[in-house]
Symmetry: C2
Subunit: 190 residues, 2 copies
């Protein structure tokens, strides 16, 4: 049972968002920029969702790991197999060396930002990571340390129906995290 | 030295914000709502800044602990003494029992949201905490697990000049975290 009175029919973070629209707005916008709107050939939305699912798995946040894992599976040509491989042992997963290097940075940020070393950064740059890729990796990992704690700290309802997450992940992957009609976010849809 | 090329003259999170305005906007807005615009008699901005400084101290993020500590010291009648007491041993600090109960929740969220127990929530409610107070406490603690990791994960410049932080904290306490001219945030100034 949630620690505070939340809308009963809404799972995970969506219940917190409905409870407090004033904080939901920037939290949705941040996820939208980081995971959806900024995806490009060098660092795709699929890669970004994989990072989100990976960090959430390290924080053992069921709702975030499963929903972002489903979004990543929808976007990635390797589907669910790749998501599971990344979350269980990313170093042997069938992904690019660049993404492995970014995951190695995210792995440390999940514990403590101060654990990111110059060596990890140099390895990511050697694999072609730009400053923007590294910035976004650090912030995705940091942001999911927030989202995960928010979802779990309120003891939100986190249903165990896999089909629900597949549907949710597909919607997240296709539409992102803010309404397309929100004029605040138009400038970030680039 | 920062891990990526950041504006040299900007300390801590402000360098990350200048590097990436698209993510800075929602991150500033979230801090503004949680720490500044939502302060009220039952859960003041002084209390909220104390929570931010406390969580940052647990994450050993020098920049965030010192700047939000300075903001809290500016707002709280007990000044710096109270901030130091809260960060070293909040249970014996000269603060209300309600704030101690909220700090006990934040203390667990900083480690893992799943560590927040029904007992901790019941104690906070017994001291007069509302659902909104509890929600905002969980989210402040969660959000500083993001801000702290962002600041440290980029290896931002974190100067050691105390006077700079006093000035910064005063500005944060008085003006909040977004420009007053930003129309996006007007609705939250309630």
């Amino acid at each position: 049972m949630p620690h505070i009175v939340l809308p009963e029919e809404l799972p995970g973070i969506t219940a917190g968002f409905a409870f407090r629209p004033e904080t939901a707005k920037p939290m949705r916008e941040l996820a939208h920029v980081l995971l959806h709107a900024s995806g490009n050939d060098g660092f795709t939305s699929a890669d970004r969702e994989l990072l989100a699912a990976f960090v959430s798995s390290r924080n053992t946040c069921y709702f975030c790991q499963t929903s972002h894992g489903a979004a990543a599976a929808h976007l990635h040509e390797g589907g669910e197999t790749v998501v599971n491989a990344v979350c269980s042992d990313y170093k042997s997963a069938p992904i690019s060396n660049k993404l492995k290097a970014l995951l190695a940075i995210a792995e440390q940020v999940q514990i403590d930002g101060k654990r990111v070393t110059a060596d990890l950064i140099a390895k990511a740059k050697a694999e072609g990571a730009t400053d923007l890729d590294i910035h976004d990796t650090v912030l995705i990992a940091a942001a999911f340390c927030m989202y995960n704690r928010y979802v779990d700290g309120l003891a939100t309802w986190q249903p165990r129906d896999p089909a629900m997450y597949v549907e949710m992940g597909k919607r997240m992957a296709m539409q992102g995290y803010v309404s397309g009609k929100d004029p605040d976010t138009r400038s970030e849809q680039r």
